[in-house]
């Protein structure tokens, strides 16, 4: 779960990190207790809000209120701005970059730091990025901190403060099962203090159960999304008009790839996970009907359950509730021939290969 900036900063404060004095603002009176100049920052769960006009400086209250009204409700790459954080402008001597993420190859946390803070880390040349890996069996050690901080070439006091900060951030990263903690910029103030001007914190969704103090940002689910979530079916909305039902992430992706090859495009897609349970297939069909695609493409590999059992389930939904668009089915695995007969019987188009099925689906929506 990606935390909004202000939530990330609440966690930072909990771990003793300095952040600018600030708060969420929505009306004039919210500015009391804050000293101008201020920075107003749109709270959205994506980067690039600065370029999109979501960050504005302001010198006085009148100007602030006017700028606040510009930011609230703004659309930033599909996210409507609902919350704005007002913060006192910091006294920046030096901007650093600091992050802790997961290195999938080494299977351990990776600290990245750079003396060039404030810019996108992907634009910093690799040799200017300090990298330090932390072994999960022993956690962060004094030498890791020394290795990172000594290469930042800071003054003595600044190094000491940055070392303390890094220790705290790592603790937060570990305690909260983070995938990412990024601070860009982490600044050195002119009195030698260290302060986090931004926060990007992503908590591993699978570990949320042990962080009940983190209240998820309210996300409006569509009725379909809600329905899918309750049934444990992965639901992803893409731009196309072919509804795809498949089992397993890899097979689902391969199905979308095949549609694209034939100039079709996946729309709603439902991944049943690694199952071919007839009950789950039935539920997916019911969901898909509500999504009203132009074609439904069912691509299943019958692993444990026999294909004819699955087909019987599908037939039951179709027969009982009717369907108002063409359905292309392809079921592979044990008893697939019997399955085909059943599906044909239910008026569904049955294909043998993924290619065949993908091509037919694409043609039905005007692909090649």
């Amino acid at each position: 779960m990606k935390l909004f900036e202000y939530r990330g900063k609440e966690l930072f404060k909990k771990y003793g990190l300095e952040v600018p004095n600030g708060k969420l603002v929505s009306t004039e009176k919210d500015f009391s207790g804050l000293n101008f100049p201020l920075v107003l920052k749109a709270q959205v769960p994506i980067g690039g809000r600065g370029k999109a006009g979501g960050i504005k400086s302001t010198e006085n209250k009148k100007d602030a209120i006017s700028k606040l009204s510009q930011i609230i409700g703004m659309d930033i790459r599909g996210y409507k701005v609902g919350k704005v954080l007002a913060e006192e402008k910091a006294d920046i001597k030096n901007e650093l970059y600091l992050s802790i993420s997961l290195d999938r190859t080494k299977k351990m946390p990776l600290i990245m730091a750079s003396a060039s803070g404030g810019m996108d880390i992907e634009s910093v040349p690799d040799e200017k990025i300090i990298k330090e890996w932390i072994n999960p069996l022993i956690g962060i050690q004094p030498f890791n901190i020394r290795n990172v901080v000594s290469k930042l070439k800071l003054g003595k006091e600044e190094s000491k403060e940055t070392s303390k900060t890094l220790t705290k951030i790592y603790k937060l990263f570990r305690d909260y099962d983070c995938e990412l903690v990024e601070i860009n910029p982490l600044i050195i103030t002119s009195n030698g203090g260290v302060m986090a001007l931004d926060s990007k914190v992503i908590i591993n969704d699978d570990a949320m159960y042990r962080h009940t103090d983190i209240i998820p940002e309210h996300v409006e689910l569509t009725p379909l999304e809600k329905d899918a979530k309750e049934k444990g079916i992965t639901f992803i909305q893409l731009d196309g008009d072919i509804g795809v039902i498949a089992n397993g992430a890899g097979l689902t992706m391969a199905t979308l790839d095949a549609l694209t090859y034939y100039k079709g495009q996946g729309g709603v897609f439902l991944d049943l996970g690694g199952t071919d349970d007839p009950e789950k297939v039935k539920q997916a069909f019911e969901l898909m009907k509500k999504a009203k695609p132009r074609v439904i493409f069912l691509n299943l590999f019958g692993g444990i359950t026999k294909c004819d059992t699955v087909a019987t389930g599908v037939k039951a939904v179709i027969t009982k509730e009717g369907i108002n668009c063409p359905v292309i089915t392809r079921i592979k695995g044990m008893n697939e021939e019997a399955a085909k007969e059943i599906l044909k019987d239910a008026g569904l188009i049955t294909a043998t290969t993924l290619q065949d099925a993908a091509q037919r689906s694409s043609e039905l929506v005007g692909g090649k």
Binding site: P136, L238, A249, G250, M253, G333, T353
Partner: protein, 288 residues
């Protein structure tokens, strides 16, 4: 021959008395797997398909000589289950469980290395060496003993590919499901090393997907160390960046992990790439 597992592995199932445990113990026994023990705390003395159940792994190991563990417990108990089995001396651990927190997986993956144990998964379908053993939840019916090694990050997609190989009469030496999580114990490179050494493996099939750089790393390794022919399929060529595509590990993040990058790396390593999953079988047939 085969890699990682063969007919000698004596399997203990953790989470044996649950729905999945009972079902897959039967499936594995049917495949010929030596399932010798199950563990569920508090259920010692029971049996599942005549397999004795123990209160803890150590007792199961001591009583039956189990050397391999299949983990089917819920995500929040998985780390404890893996630690328990490693401390009991088990040397091969297959973790089926999905949705395990990454930090838990990091810890047990490194602890397995400390114990000189093989850990496959998590969030994987398991491993099968046809004619010898199957440890996991892969459908047994799709396999045929033979000379193609398969390593895959996906589940059902692998079943498709293995099934199409079998339909063409091409058998498999070992098929290992590596798992769809970002942190996994056994990687393409680990599998490639073993397949290269395995006398009964004549060709290698890799099934990759978007996310991470495992395929790029594998491509580099193939160029330097692998002499056997390698075939590959990459899923997710049309997946949009930033969306998690079903698997926790299948995500294009910060510009990294695209299918294009993986395909390019494999092409450079002269790996033969399939456009559609089932094309793999045709490619293999043409080349061996």
């Amino acid at each position: 021959m085969s890699i990682f597992v063969d007919e000698k592995n004596k399997v203990l199932v953790q989470g044996a008395t649950g729905h999945q445990g009972v079902f897959h113990i039967a499936e594995m026994l049917g495949f010929g797997t030596k399932v010798v023990a199950g563990v569920t705390p508090g259920k010692a003395g029971q049996e599942v398909h005549k397999v004795p159940i123990f209160d803890n792994v150590q007792e199961g190991v001591d009583e039956t000589g189990a050397d391999t563990s299949l983990i089917l417990v819920p995500a929040r108990f998985a780390k404890d289950a893996v630690f328990e089995t490693l401390d009991a001396g088990v040397k091969t651990v297959v973790v089926i469980t999905e949705n395990i927190p990454f930090h838990d997986a990091m810890e047990f993956v490194h602890y397995a290395k400390y114990k000189d144990a093989i850990l496959i998964g998590p969030n994987c379908p398991g491993i099968a060496s046809p004619g010898k053993t199957k440890i996991g939840i892969l459908p047994g019916s799709i396999f045929k003993q033979g000379n193609v090694g398969v390593a895959s990050r996906s589940g059902t997609l692998t079943y498709e590919i293995v099934n199409s190989l079998t339909e063409k009469g091409i058998g498999q030496s070992t098929c290992v499901g590596l798992g769809g999580d970002p942190i996994i114990g056994t990687t393409f490179i680990d599998s490639l090393k073993e397949f290269e050494k395995d006398k009964d493996t004549k060709a290698i099939v890799l099934v990759g997907e978007i996310g991470g750089t495992a395929e790029e790393d594998a491509a580099e390794f193939i160029t330097e160390h692998i002499n056997k022919p390698v075939f590959a399929f990459i899923a997710g060529r049309t997946a949009p960046p930033g969306k998690r595509m079903g698997h926790a590990g299948a995500i294009i993040a910060r510009g990294k992990g695209t299918a294009a990058s993986k395909i390019k790396a494999f092409e450079k390593a002269e790996v033969k790439l399939a456009k559609f999953p089932t094309d793999i079988a045709d490619l293999v047939e043409q080349h061996i």
